[in-house]
């Protein structure tokens, strides 16, 4: 089923996610209010909006991480390559292997760097020591961390610096070989150099992954994202190519937010 961009002339792009009237509830509290949008494949979608606008909740709904919350409920549909991820025959475990996620605060597992990286692949049954070594190197290089850690892979991950830990988390997600990468404010609390490293990595990764980057740093969105979506109070206010959103937004609320007048 082909999803078209809303109001975009650049010809139909292959769609990774097609989200239709998505609403989410934590018990009685509603987080997202009937969201509808399409996410193009192999491009970076920036998601901006003030705190509490439902950005993170949206992200965690895509890889069904919100299932961990006891009274979480979903309405509407989220199609990944055409099939509804909340449908009965979707196995959330397999889904999460296709959709990797990097959290706001870097959370390395309390194991060595090596064990952190091979954690995902081993779950899919890869046992061959040689193959694991390749995956580790490939993903560390993709996250621009290989040179700094290649000869101390047995070091406990908690001994790395903040920036290195975040890149390790990115590498760990890449090691899983996902199709989509979700990033939840990856550079919050990082120094400019580490932030630049992450953004370089994302630009590089765009060619082989669909990336959704949630950030409250509008500059980062304008630098990195191909398309940008503006969330407010759980609603999708507007979505479109990044320079259109930042120079000629269709909705006054987007304009106020992007020019920094509020939020």
């Amino acid at each position: 089923m082909e999803g078209l961009y809303s109001g975009e002339t650049m010809g139909p792009m292959p769609v990774k996610f097609s989200i239709q009237q998505l609403s989410t509830f934590y018990g009685s509290v509603q987080a997202l209010r009937s969201l509808s949008m399409d996410v193009a494949t192999n491009r970076i979608l920036g998601v901006i909006g003030p705190a509490g606008s439902g950005k993170t909740s949206f992200l965690r709904t895509l890889n069904r991480l919100n299932d961990l919350l006891p009274d979480f409920r979903v309405e509407g549909r989220v199609l990944l390559d055409g099939s509804d991820i909340y449908g009965p025959d979707t196995d959330p475990v397999l889904l999460r292997r296709r959709i990797g996620m990097v959290f706001a605060m870097p959370v390395p597992l309390p194991m060595s760097i090596y064990e952190n990286l091979v954690y995902g692949p081993k779950l899919t049954g890869i046992r061959d020591y040689q193959r694991l070594g390749e995956i580790v190197e490939k993903s560390l290089r993709a996250a621009y961390l290989w040179d700094e850690v290649k000869d101390r892979l047995n070091l406990p991950a908690l001994r790395l610096s903040g920036g290195q830990q975040q890149r390790l988390c990115l590498a760990r997600t890449l090691a899983l070989g996902p199709e989509v990468i979700l990033l939840d404010e990856p550079s919050s609390g990082l120094d400019p150099i580490s932030t630049a490293r992450i953004e370089e990595a994302l630009a590089e990764l765009k060619s082989s992954y669909t990336i959704i980057l949630v950030t409250n740093n509008t500059k980062q969105a304008s630098r990195v994202a191909d398309e940008t979506a503006f969330f407010l109070m759980g609603e999708l206010v507007e979505i479109g190519p990044t320079e259109k959103i930042f120079t000629a937004p269709g909705d006054s609320r987007t304009e106020d937010y992007v020019t920094g007048r509020f939020g």
Partner: protein, 278 residues
């Protein structure tokens, strides 16, 4: 009169230090009391031969074997059961009235006197299930006695594991079981080991319940269906029937040294395991 934070800190720390000193003095007094009375009785013959003349002479080898086997059986039953129950209560069910009721029940049973566990074991395992006085009946009874402690300590340890680890593991495509086995339990290990060590300590030191279930036969147990007398029960009988206080304290000294050794080994292993990971 508000003391400056620096002064209150110094005052409180010295108070806490005093509390620790008092505890250590008591601990050392108890150990010295036992070793002073017990060490003279310990020699090769005492450790490796069978008791004679009602325990007034000879060694305590059968009781040492029983004191190793009984807690082993109790923990081999109670640890898996207890940890699984705790995992089920924390990871696999939502916090509800039922889980709170179970937790409350476990707390109350942790307070039931061991004599009632002993009687239950005597009537249920020894008589009804025809297991007779045996290490198995004793092990099962002790398992039920230490179960509440293991369940509670494991639950607390699991609850202390930060939720972010579970989220990361799940986001990397782990099932709930793998997340529990690979991330939650390894990080909750210190608390679990503490619970099990308290269980071991309690089952090694128990007398009332053991006499009614594992019995107090002085013969060397050749299988878990044989009755056997642990070191604690041996001390109990020797001291209380006034047979030989010298042999009684010798047994207590051997007991203390082995319990201390077991504790040290268990913590050494666990600390090495943790240092490797964090």
């Amino acid at each position: 009169m508000r003391l400056s934070p620096r002064l209150t800190q110094a005052f409180v720390v010295s108070l806490l230090g005093l509390a620790t000193a008092v505890t250590l003095v008591i601990l050392i007094f108890v150990i010295v009391f036992i070793l002073r009375k017990g060490l003279p009785a310990i020699d090769m013959e005492f450790l490796f031969t069978k008791p004679q003349d009602m325990g007034r002479a000879g060694g305590i080898l059968p009781t040492i074997v029983a004191s190793v086997l009984l807690p082993l059986i109790a923990v081999a039953i109670a640890a898996p059961l207890g940890v699984s129950t705790a995992v089920y209560l924390t990871e696999y069910t939502r916090e509800s009235r039922v889980t709170r009721l179970i937790r409350f029940g476990a707390d109350c049973l942790a307070g039931i006197p061991s004599i009632l566990f002993g009687l239950f074991g005597f009537i249920f395992f020894v008589t009804i299930l025809q297991m007779g006085w045996s290490l198995l009946s004793g092990g099962l009874t002790l398992a039920l006695m230490i179960l509440p402690t293991i369940i509670r300590t494991t639950e607390e340890a699991i609850r202390a594991v930060p939720n972010s680890y579970r989220e990361v593991s799940t986001s990397l495509g782990a099932t709930r079981f793998r997340t529990t086995a690979k991330v939650v339990l390894p990080n909750a290990l210190p608390g679990i080991v503490t619970g099990i060590m308290l269980g071991v300590g309690r089952s090694i030191g128990e007398t009332a319940a053991v006499i009614f279930t594992a019995g107090s036969s002085l013969r060397m147990p050749s299988s878990i269906f044989d009755s056997a007398r642990t070191m604690s029960v041996h001390f109990y009988i020797l001291a209380r029937e006034g047979l030989s206080s010298e042999k009684a304290y010798g047994t207590a000294a051997v007991l203390i040294i082995s319990v201390l050794a077991v504790n040290m080994v268990a913590y050494g292993l666990m600390n090495r395991f943790i240092r490797k990971r964090s």
